[in-house]
């Protein structure tokens, strides 16, 4: 709460004798947040593991220079070895390189879809909370979106817009845009609801009144005073949004409606590996563990962030 002064101390007259000087220097809000966050071991580890996964999939190819699409049919179906740490698949492609390439796609889709959903959700939430006239129609819209059967609609959307987008942007970029948009459009509603609730409460606070009384325009009021104060629910939704987007993308790939077959993602790798379930069960394990571990670490991160950003819990 950067702009909100304590309502009790503002009106009260200053005491004549301020008492002993505070022995410790004042602490910033983010310092408090970090201290609370650190004490949540699960969240700390979640953050570290998520960071490690992101670094590995984005920087790993610099050190592991195998081409994920290079077919070496003589060394197919190999187990784990120093040459191929995760083995090779039925065409002799290096699974470790494919896992990193798949992770790059899955994590990018997750982050991009989360940003889109967050933007839409915060926009709708702030507008609905701030402008009374738009509140009712926007919230009706949110309820309507919540009543849509999302997974069937996602599947239908994937089927419908695949061809035109492929033609416009090429097969890989087209499907990337499609998946990100589809997930973003179908997952902004929880954020919008939470943000609206917070904005409604913030709007009645004194600092908003003060800002308005010195002639702050609506735009500035929203950008400088309202938005910084709703950052904490937005950040929590962001972490949950990444987890949700990664799972949705993998589900689509698993149902065969995601990225094209030669373009690895974690969901696609898992889907392809189920054909060889009896002979090589470990091939299912790698992408499955990667998805689960990423989502688990992000969920723990979100849990810790929620505790750390909530001033009522902080300091307990």
């Amino acid at each position: 709460m950067t702009d909100a002064p304590d309502p009790v101390t503002v009106g009260a007259p200053l005491p004549a004798n301020p008492g002993p000087m505070p022995s410790r220097p004042p602490r910033s809000q983010w310092r408090d947040v970090w201290d609370q966050f650190k004490s949540h071991k699960g969240a700390l580890w979640g953050g570290i593991i998520f960071l490690a996964i992101v670094l590995l999939v984005f920087l790993g190819p610099i050190f592991w220079t195998y081409d994920p699409t290079f077919i070496d049919i003589r060394s197919r179906n190999q187990g784990m070895s120093w040459q191929h740490p995760f083995g090779t698949d039925q065409l002799g492609r290096d699974t470790f390189a494919r896992m990193m390439a798949g992770g790059r796609t899955s994590v990018s889709v997750g982050i991009a879809a989360m940003l889109l959903a967050l933007f839409l959700g915060s926009f709708v939430g702030v507008v609905a909370g701030f402008f009374r006239r738009l509140d009712s129609p926007l919230m009706r819209l949110t309820d309507l979106f919540l009543a849509l059967p999302l997974l069937p609609l996602l599947l239908v959307m994937m089927l419908l817009f695949r061809e035109p987008l492929n033609a416009a942007f090429g097969p890989e970029r087209g499907i990337f845009i499609l998946i990100v948009c589809a997930i973003g459009i179908t997952s902004w509603m929880p954020t919008a609801r939470i943000v609206r609730g917070d904005v409604l409460a913030l709007k009645e606070r004194e600092f908003v009144l003060a800002a308005r009384s010195i002639g702050t325009t609506n735009n500035r009021l929203i950008l400088r005073h309202i938005l910084p104060n709703v950052m904490s629910p937005i950040m929590v939704s962001a972490t949950l949004g990444i987890a949700n987007a990664i799972i949705t993308e993998s589900s689509l790939s698993f149902l065969g409606l995601g990225f094209p077959p030669d373009f690895p993602t974690w969901g696609r790798l898992l889907f392809d590996a189920t054909d060889y379930l009896q002979q090589y069960p470990e091939r299912v394990i790698w992408p499955g563990v990667a998805i689960s571990l990423t989502v688990l670490s992000v969920n723990y991160l979100g849990d810790g962030l929620r505790d750390a950003l909530d001033p009522r819990i902080r300091g307990r």
Partner: protein, 335 residues
């Protein structure tokens, strides 16, 4: 309360109409041609006739109106006919699937028992496991049990069903060989032995679905119990000298169940949606698999009807959750 329920029911009608329109318009954009599978030797004018026979020749708004009439007026008549042996719907055109040329609702009625058996059992099992876990982890907050419960529910949140499903297949049917990996829907339960077989094939899908449900509901139960355990009335009850079991199981639990019951009601439709993937993994031919098959085969009437049924479920259970909340909690007044 009654007026609120009626008002919500009336409000649900335009919502559902709008949703059906959205689904219809989305499908209208579909690039697929239902005639794609017809052999090339069939002349184009015959193909045009076949297309008209499917009802594709007419403009969009007429087809939407026809679908509405078929779904909301003729299908209920068919239901009445089937129940009471009357013949209201004689000769009326029903919603016809393009894949099989048989009425969509007949296929849906065939598929629903499979989904209900697997998903319904999983939901009941999940809730029954979740409630005690939630209660105990709230009562002993930050204990080993609570930490373990939190971890397990985090795993339930994070492991997607297509991975946990494949994982249990690897462990229990490939390595141990205990359960079949494919759900046999033609299996009929006639005696004890066939019941055991049915149980064996149900265990794995139920396990996978129940893990997710348990994870969500136990979190809610725990949070709700924690909210109530620090209330003043709990201290009063203890001060009166009531036993710990009465305080927790009667006073706190009853109040904590209010939000949990609504969450349980809200979760029912999303389970149908989430079960699409689980059905795909275990080859249960329920509604989820029907939907996937219809999407891949470009069977638009089927997709439209199924998606709409899912939407009806969501709206209906939202309504039930709201009404339940009002009934259970006397502090909530809608009027």
């Amino acid at each position: 309360m009654l007026t609120f329920t009626i008002r919500r029911l009336v409000m649900a009608v335009p919502t559902l109409l709008f949703i059906s329109l959205v689904i219809f318009l989305l499908l209208e954009l579909a690039p697929g041609d239902p005639m794609a599978q017809v052999p090339l030797t069939v002349p184009p004018e015959v193909k045009e006739k076949m297309r008209e026979a499917l009802g594709l020749g007419e403009p969009m708004h007429i087809r939407f109106w026809k679908w509405l009439v078929q779904f909301f007026w003729i299908e209920p008549q068919v239901l009445i006919d089937a129940t009471f042996g009357t013949s209201f719907s004689q000769g009326d055109l029903r919603v016809i699937s393009w894949q099989t040329r048989s009425p969509v609702m007949d296929i849906v009625v065939q598929r629903i028992p499979q989904t209900l058996w697997v998903v319904g059992t999983a939901y009941v099992v999940g809730v029954l496991i979740a409630l005690p876990i939630g209660i105990y982890s709230a009562y002993r907050q930050y204990s080993i049990f609570d930490q373990a419960g939190t971890f397990v529910s985090m795993i339930g949140f994070s492991v997607p069903p297509f991975f946990s499903g494949v994982l249990v297949i690897v462990v229990f049917s490939v390595n141990l060989g205990w359960f079949p990996s494919i759900y046999d829907t033609t299996h009929k339960v006639v005696d004890w032995d066939s019941f055991v077989v049915q149980l064996q094939q149900m265990i794995m899908p139920v396990m996978v679905l129940a893990l997710q449900i348990t994870a969500q509901i136990s979190r809610f139960m725990r949070a709700s119990m924690l909210d109530n355990l620090n209330q003043d009335y709990v201290r009063t009850a203890r001060a009166k000298g009531l036993g710990e079991s009465v305080v927790v199981m009667t006073h706190v639990l009853r109040n904590s169940m209010i939000p949990v019951v609504t969450v349980i009601a809200l979760g029912v439709p999303s389970i149908f949606g989430g079960a699409i993937i689980t059905e795909q993994v275990f080859k249960v031919n329920g509604i989820g698999q029907l939907l996937i098959g219809a999407i891949q085969a470009n069977d638009l009437p089927m997709v439209q009807t199924l998606a709409f049924i899912f939407a009806v479920l969501i709206v209906l259970f939202n309504l039930i959750a709201d009404v339940l909340y009002g009934l259970l909690d006397p502090r909530i007044r809608y009027d």
